[in-house]
Symmetry: D2
Subunit: 290 residues, 4 copies
């Protein structure tokens, strides 16, 4: 029996230059499309009469950039997702996931890639319904102090010492679900990103979970139209080195930044009255429950 399925063109790299004057602007995207619908035939018999080729999906991404321009990644995603669900009767759901790479202006037509996080948008359409999730990932933050960790469960396998002062570092991967699909996406992104950073900076942290919850809450407070925030925060451990063998103290100064293993803290923060998520987080939300 064929279960949930989808297909599409992943990672179409699109760079759009806007030349409407002496000063150019730049949009740099990685666009992935996934479609679902009446796809049993191609799976069961290889009959592709209901398949919109992934090659066509890529062409559409490029053509739409020229035809409609790109105001925001959310709006571009909405345009594309709505197009795909109306492009063929067999396509009932479409999801467009976009990574947007930031560039700092150096001159009228010159730019340098920024590294402080990648802006993301995931837009889903099903019939006339749409869901918009915005986010940021690879935003690496670090506090050198104001982080403790103690009072935890102790069992036979516990060796960790309690600490009242540690480095807290993470690479933020955050996504937030909007309740409307016509807001000022750029303003919302900036407000949400600032809220995440502000909460990381200002929270005196007793656990990374506490910081996660503060970050999610701050986004909900900052942007009324956001109804849910999901965060995935790796705990990038920095271990204080024992320099006593060399006759040296180490009062919180010299650390080893470890690669693996790392803690991974994941959680959602949502409004009490958040509407149902529908297809916002997955084209197949009942996956786990068949």
């Amino acid at each position: 029996m064929l279960g949930p399925n989808q297909y599409g063109k992943a990672e179409t790299r699109l760079v759009l230059v806007r030349r409407g004057g002496p000063e150019h602007s730049l949009v740099d995207l990685n666009v992935s499309v996934a479609l679902a619908g009446d796809l049993a035939d191609t799976h069961l018999t290889g009959d592709n009469a209901k398949v919109l080729p992934t090659d066509t999906q890529r062409n559409t991404v490029y053509a739409f950039a020229r035809e409609h321009g790109i105001s925001t990644v959310e709006d571009f995603g909405l345009l594309l997702a709505r197009h795909f669900v109306s492009s063929a009767p067999s396509v009932s759901q479409a999801r467009v996931s976009i990574d947007s790479y930031g560039w700092d202006r150096l001159g009228p037509h010159s730019f340098a890639r920024t590294g402080a996080g990648v802006r993301t948008a995931v837009v889903t359409a099903s019939g006339s319904d749409t869901w918009v999730v915005s986010g940021v990932r690879d935003l690496v933050l670090l506090n050198t102090t104001d982080s403790e960790f103690h009072g935890f469960i102790r069992d036979r396998y516990t060796t960790l010492a309690e600490t009242s002062d540690r480095i807290l570092a993470t690479a933020v991967d955050a996504s937030w679900r909007h309740s409307v699909d016509g807001e000022d996406w750029d303003a919302g992104y900036e407000a949400a990103r600032s809220a995440l950073i502000g909460a990381f900076v200002d929270t005196y942290s007793l656990s990374l979970q506490q910081t996660l919850y503060a970050m999610g809450s701050a986004v909900l407070q900052a942007v009324p139209s956001i109804v849910e925030v999901r965060l995935s925060l790796p705990n990038r451990h920095h271990f204080l080195l024992d320099l006593a063998p060399f006759g040296l103290d180490n009062p919180g100064e010299v650390f080893f930044a470890a690669d693996r293993p790392y803690g991974l803290i994941e959680g959602a923060v949502l409004r009490d009255d958040a509407p149902a998520a529908g297809l916002a987080w997955s084209l197949h939300p009942y996956d786990g429950d068949r």
Copy 2:
């Protein structure tokens, strides 16, 4: 409001040498743990009294390897997952995800890393219930012929030519759900992996979806206790080069292997009478539907 959440130690790298004779054996794992349960306090107030530290989780992985040995990754995952849900009242669910790297024997105590795919296992426990998912990823397969693609939807954005002979290449990422948790895991893995490869090789393919379905079906046929197979198959495009400008033909011989974009075909194949998946695929199966 705090939504679904989990935390744990990710990517604990464990190498176990078995020295029970002149011939050593080697187990090389990357183990990730995720726990869920009564975790509101640490999120809301930073009170960690119900938190089993990720450091302790790592210690437990290493200690269990010594105490209990590792017969199969599935059994090791079951041991760990059952331990974690009984370790503290606050931990109600545990998920243990293991990557197992293969090594070929070169001598009594010498080995070479194989590259043909990584074996995986994801084991979940909730109370006394458990779910076991096994799999393989990064298994790169290629057919030089017996692959066609035509008869698809044509619209304004179509430029793709139909083809009756193309290269079909993919990096298999497959997972399969077991209905029982006491089977011969190694035999099941070998049978499932062979079935995947056999179906890829033997299917005359009219679409990668057709190949996907054939691969999933073959696993279900090969191993009765497997009830569902999920596949994620990137279509690694190989483009035939136009050598006419150089006065040369190119009868299916010289190809450009592209990186991006790529097609991505995903789907599940399951038995008609497959039991409910429960937490097999996610610790929070209702995620999308709140």
Copy 3:
């Protein structure tokens, strides 16, 4: 016969927090050490009496960070390299290579990782001689116009069209050799980096080679004590898409950013009176000429 050889500890990840007041500062380094000298015994017989273990090298990196602090990566490299060549009679040459990751300040003890290039330093010591090379890598720059490419050789295998307007994009990997070892390293770095960026922005480019030469020359002009600049510039191709099949023009707006293949342009720019490079670029400079 044993030929040129070296060994050392690679990629020691060191994070140093300076806590000298309410405002903390952060140094985040990846330090690699390579030593050469009288190492025949360990190769030929396994006698390690002349080997300073790589573990000790790592310890030394951490201890020196505490004992001496880190003013600049160049000075820290000089301290370490001089220490290693005086640490044991068998160690005659030492090379210390440092990557320094940038962090933007968010608060008194809070930081965000920047992504706009990694600062580098490679310091070599041999007896009482030292050489210092500074640099930057992964600095991604792009001009949307003012780049042409034409007038090139045409042969049987030429299909490239000449262009008078293209995107020029690269990830700068630049290193510069100093003639003295006591300058203001931070000021020199800022001046050299600015010169690289300024030349990329201001050069109306007829080839990436021309831009490379302009960038190297600008560094030499900006910092008198720098005597040689080496640049490795991948040409990250952006291909203008043909949208005519969709009834659309494309006046330099919509591009495909390709991954592979890419052009790779490498070259050195040096002063007429640059002193001999000695061991600045390699511990074994005669490698190719035995």
Copy 4:
């Protein structure tokens, strides 16, 4: 002043299918070209009259694959390098670097990617002279015992304990220089690779340097026409875990496989009568000595 420079097309991904019968064969390459010569004009003025575009280099790689086939990577590299130095008066040196990915046969036209090392070749031409270097990289080997490390220098920064039994693991990166350019490349490759593995397995190791020297010597012994071997061997540390806090011993069984830092051991082994290396290892062998 313009110093040493070169340019070319990097990472052209070429897949060649040979269809000369019911059984297909597969060649999967990543080809990089670098050219040097009379390139001052393009650097100084942007005049490209002496520049063979990197786009043309890529076309040539594909066209040659069709015109001449690919018997071995070394022969294909020789064909290409000789072509480039005769293609234009301005091109005096050419280097062709090829990675060859291995595939295991699954059927008449079906293959699985192997992971046990990538075969490499670097061919250089200057006028009528040529140099051929073959090699292998990413060949990951591990011995669970028969490795010791003791008797090393002890200083103030030493904490490493001596050991008479440790895991020895590395990812072999080896290159070997041939004295002739018309040998049986495939047989030479197999013999050299086997010699590397055999020496790693059979050497009772007192240091990774000793193993390195044994591996290089074994290649020289196995293939008379090879005159020099260069090896770069990361020491992938496996740390024995202290399980005493959990009431467990650990007699060489449970290890933590660390990512960073790692030791890096590099060295050359060559015949007493090895001819001069010329341009075998670098297009600019005097680089370090200006």
